[in-house]
């Protein structure tokens, strides 16, 4: 690029950005409502930061074009949730008390959620959106995340019948999400007439899966439920295929999204299934249109859509619906309004019940260039998450 044209372009870009910042203020007379978005911008999950940020920005732009939250435009403020819980809650506290943020949307791990719930104490609306182990029922908190009940209760019986699976091997990383998921999975496997032939939890540092693969082979398993995350899932699945297990043993994962599949590689993904509330390849008109809008706003080179990032978009839709129904940003009123809300998103319809979303669950098989949805389970309940 020539220097002059570079300067011209920069100036043009600058004025565009300026106009972008000014426009909402011209369009809305009311003062903006600040919404905090807690997403991992660093750490192991930082991979999902850029796509999550994009989904948040897309949601805010669209909601503002529709009139904002209770008549006020949203001003988006992002804080890093890819840090230790204490640090993340410090960041949230700064937004809440320092910058007068009036609501939070969060896509991060459960440890950070625990810390945030402790800080907010129900005094500011908080919507949690990433896949988790279930059981969150704190005041002020709404959960759009898929629970193990949603991802497995309908899926295990269907897949067992479809592929004639009897002997399940459970393997996951060693923390509460895989353990709680497997506790549920055992019930569903038993009621589908199958049995669990092995259960293992690996440290995050594991990069050699030979010992586990030998055990799986010896156990006579015909199905493996995978709750390994990120790099561990990539390494395990690659080794699984190289030892020739892929043709004989069916794999089911509840956190294998597009990016993990990319690392596993299609050549290593025979008979690999994934259960989730969203895939980039869902071919409903709403999902296709969403992908188109995402592409139009962020360009063809934008970070690819995935279930975790897309959940942020749904988080903002729920916030919009809560503000609309209660007619305010008052935490108590919004909380009361949340129960029974029904909204449509690229995932399909979601109905709020007991702080959780009842929604469609997709089962996809790795095929061709990516995931192909093979079965949709309509309006799956999140299960019992509140003790009372």
């Amino acid at each position: 690029m020539k220097r002059r044209s570079f300067i011209q372009n920069s100036l043009a870009l600058g004025s565009l950005v300026g106009a972008d910042l000014l426009l909402p203020h011209l369009a809305f007379a009311a003062s903006p409502v600040k919404v905090g978005l807690m997403i991992p911008m660093s750490g192991p999950a930082g991979l999902f930061g850029p796509s999550s940020k994009n989904c948040g920005e897309l949601a805010v732009a669209e909601i503002n074009a529709r009139g904002g939250l209770a008549g006020r435009p949203i001003e988006l403020i992002i804080s890093d949730a890819g840090v230790p819980p204490a640090e993340a809650s410090q960041g949230a506290l700064k937004l809440w008390k320092g910058q007068q943020v009036e609501a939070f949307v969060g896509m991060h791990d459960s440890a950070v959620r625990g810390a945030l719930v402790g800080v907010f104490k129900g005094q500011v609306p908080y919507i949690y959106t990433s896949t988790y182990e279930g059981g969150e029922c704190s005041p002020g908190t709404q959960v759009l995340a898929e629970t193990p009940t949603q991802q497995l209760e309908p899926v295990i019986p269907w897949l067992s019948k479809e592929r004639k699976l009897k002997n399940w091997y459970l393997i996951g990383n060693d923390y509460n999400w895989p353990r709680d998921t497997n506790a549920k999975a055992k019930q569903y496997i038993a009621s589908a007439g199958g049995k669990v032939v092995g259960e293992e939890y690996l440290p995050f540092t594991t990069d050699n899966f030979d010992a586990n693969l030998a055990k799986i082979k010896a156990s006579g398993a015909d199905a493996v439920l995978i709750t390994l995350v990120g790099g561990a899932s990539v390494g395990f699945n690659r080794a699984f295929a190289s030892f020739g297990l892929a043709d004989k043993v069916t794999r089911l994962g509840t956190l294998i999204e597009e990016n993990t599949l990319g690392g596993i590689g299609m050549q290593n993904a025979a008979n690999l299934y994934s259960s989730s509330g969203y895939f980039a390849s869902i071919d409903t008109p709403a999902a296709i249109d969403f992908a188109k809008r995402y592409g139009a706003k962020f360009g063809a080179q934008a970070p690819a859509l995935n279930a975790l990032a897309q959940s942020v978009y749904d988080g903002f839709l729920l916030l919009e619906a809560m503000a609309k129904k209660s007619g305010s940003m008052d935490p108590k009123k919004m909380e009361t309004a949340a129960e029974g809300i029904r909204f449509s998103s690229p995932r399909g319809d979601t109905t709020m019940h007991q702080r959780h979303g009842k929604k469609d669950i997709y089962l996809a098989k790795a095929e061709g260039n990516g995931f192909k949805v093979v079965k949709v389970f309509k309006q799956v309940d999140a299960g019992k998450n509140c003790k009372a």
Binding site: P44, G46, L47, D174, E200, Y201, L202, P203, T205, T206, D207, N208, D210, A211, N212, A214, K215, K217, A218, G231, V234, G235, R238, A239, S242, F243, G244, N259, T260, G262, G263, I264, G265, Q267, P303
Partner: protein
């Protein structure tokens, strides 16, 4: 012997060989030159990403391996000349500087390739029957290549003049200088060979492991354990360390589970640091 025992033995040999290959680079740089190169793992990452580039350009994997060696060797030369040599007498600063370098390389890779996992296709797919069990062909080829490579290296190190010169510069730099060996050049060569070796390891392992910008860190730690147990400065120490660490991990992981396998490796390393700080076979 039943098939699961044979598979276990093959896994054990594979693991020990890979560990030797990965630790070899650090063994040269840290073990011989005493340069604690915190960026050693990043050279492995660079080697793996050379394969990513080769795959994108749709050229043969062999070119990727060559690219891995060339890129890491060139970078190694520049680093030795402008970073390691000026800090030669300040080990703590070397540690900090190379740590900074590792961050820089990681972020650089992130900027160019993004943080997502990369998928590298195995050139030798499928499995081969050996001792009546099916074992991944690529692993078998890799094991063979490592054995040949290490054998050649041992012979060269033991019998060539260049190897003797290198040994002399490591054992007594002042005396070596006095009899006309260019010690600085020897050090530079050892550093470049060390990082290129790690780059090569990255390229060879890329089709088997997860490839992402942070992958190098695990290998730095693993190599360090090998050197702690085996001792610094000798090839036999390196193999002893890789043998002990590798087989402990594989055997304990198979008999108990992975958590205990990792625990055993850590305990062993701490034990060695405490009771036998120079390792089993040390030259320094």
């Amino acid at each position: 012997m039943d098939s699961s025992t044979i598979t276990l033995l093959l896994n054990l040999v594979y693991h020990v060989l890979v560990l030797s290959l990965v630790a070899l680079g650090l063994g040269m740089v840290f073990g011989m030159l005493g340069v604690m190169n915190m960026a050693q793992g990043e050279f492995l990452t660079l080697g793996a990403y050379a394969m990513v580039v080769a795959q994108r350009m749709q050229i043969a994997a062999g070119w990727g391996i060559l690219m891995a060696i060339l890129v890491t060797a060139t970078l190694g030369y520049l680093i030795e000349r402008w970073l390691v040599r000026p800090l030669q007498t300040r080990p703590l600063d070397t540690l900090l500087a190379t740590w900074g370098l590792s961050l820089l390389v990681r972020k650089g890779i992130e900027a160019v390739f993004g943080r997502q996992y990369q998928n590298i296709t195995q050139q030798i797919g499928g499995s081969t029957q050996i001792f009546s069990v099916d074992y991944p062909s690529y692993r078998l080829a890799l094991m063979l290549a490592i054995v040949c490579g290490l054998l050649m290296l041992c012979l060269w190190y033991k019998h060539s003049t260049a190897g003797t010169r290198l040994k002399a510069s490591v054992a007594n730099p002042v005396l070596a200088q006095a009899i006309g060996i260019d010690v600085k050049r020897q050090a530079c060569m050892a550093f470049v060979c060390g990082v290129a070796c790690t780059g090569l390891a990255g390229a060879l392992l890329a089709p088997l492991v997860r490839v992402e910008p942070l992958m190098g860190m695990d290998y730095l730690l693993g190599s360090f354990f090998v050197l702690v147990v085996g001792g610094l400065g000798s090839l036999s120490g390196l193999f002893a360390g890789a043998g002990i660490i590798g087989s402990t991990q594989v055997l304990v992981s198979t008999m108990l589970d992975q958590t205990y396998g990792y625990l055993a490796v850590l305990t062993l390393s701490i034990g060695f640091l405490w009771l036998r700080p120079h390792g089993l076979l040390s030259n320094r």
